[in-house]
Symmetry: C2
Subunit: 228 residues, 2 copies
Amino acid sequence: MARTRDALTPDRVLQAALTLADSEGLEALSMRRLGTELGVEAMSLYRHVPSKEALLDAMVDAIVVSWVDPADNTAGDWRTRLGAIMHRAHATLLARPWAVELVTMRPRVGEGRLRYAETITSALLEAGFTPQLAHHGLHIVDGTIMGFTAQQARRPTAAALGDRVQALYDGHLADDYPGISITIREHHDHAEEYALMVDLVIDGLSRLRDGLMPPRSGSGARYVLSLA
Amino acid sequence: MARTRDALTPDRVLQAALTLADSEGLEALSMRRLGTELGVEAMSLYRHVPSKEALLDAMVDAIVVSWVDPADNTAGDWRTRLGAIMHRAHATLLARPWAVELVTMRPRVGEGRLRYAETITSALLEAGFTPQLAHHGLHIVDGTIMGFTAQQARRPTAAALGDRVQALYDGHLADDYPGISITIREHHDHAEEYALMVDLVIDGLSRLRDGLMPPRSGSGARYVLSLA
DNA sequence: GGTGTATGCTTACGCCGTAAACTATGACAC
DNA sequence: GTGTCATAGTTTACGGCGTAAGCATACACC
């Protein structure tokens, strides 16, 4: 076989995996399918990738690292920088809805995720956050991106939404769900909603840093477990 | 076969599925395995459940509906009621880490999820939020729960975290990741962190309602797509 | 030319969800 | 009691999955 020409490489496999997922979704990404896509048998991929899991982890890392742009690492207000990251992350995940599952669920932390975490953390530290609060801030930002994006990326295929929801749109069930029946009619701009959330979070972080958050009830420690 | 005694029912199947997932994780939940758990062949389950997908959806609904307790639907400040839901949701998801994937990724909206959405929505409407803002509020609360919980439920099995992270704990890589190297040493109380986030969100919602959020940059519309 | 090694192929195993056909049970009508 | 029927469970089978093990080929270097 041609060793030099057109040789498979880990990166070619990774790129092909991203492309395949982009065009046909994550459930279409099987090793066999990925093989055919590269004109090769499934088992050949294992010369370049230790396992499918590792491949998925590599995909995650490639995506997450794209959220931080070295260009805005140093310049500008921390608020602007964080906002940029949050919006960029949101945009890429909306463009790759299949990635949401991967990015939110895979625990492995690679270089890309570290870079991303470092960018946010150091931005907060430079902005005068205590290490403790910067740590919390990283998780707050990260959680916001994941949670909010997951929600919007969840396919509203309508048909798959459930009959009840359709009934709601049709104006029925107003007795059972009065609140939703009202709000469901609102014009709903996803982008605006996310921007609102980003502002809310950044403003909240700012107020936390400055000790402006009103003291509140407590830790929620009463809500531990039960498993019915 | 005994038609009356010990008969399988959709609910028995659902309960068994929840139990199995609780004890062995979501990846152990196969129809075959669930069958043996119930002393029955896999195919028998299909008399009571249309498909595995439907079963998973039922599991989601059962979990989500448990987040809202009729008892605190009407009583108390809206802040308290929302906080209760958020903490309860977080607690149940931490007790059932496998459920995070299901709850965040499955688009189907059943009765349970509707009940949950209705509770939050009507609480906000009653608190004087505009329908538009109540709608946003629902998504903000929902996204917060999902995102933050997903993050904490992501197994920190340490071994599976990645070598770099271990190196960071050991104090290496401080040059590459100065910020993280500082914050990683902090005492890290998950419960406290979530409580902080809950307060941040509720405070933010309150400020949104009262028009106290400072005007900000914009929608992030510049961060659309690219797919490298 | 011979050897070593890298690359890809073949085969096979044990899982998975589920379609289709079959069987055994009890309920009920006469 | 006998015949009919619906219901609940079983059996078998299909096409997919990830990947372990072993084989074949072709180049690089001596």
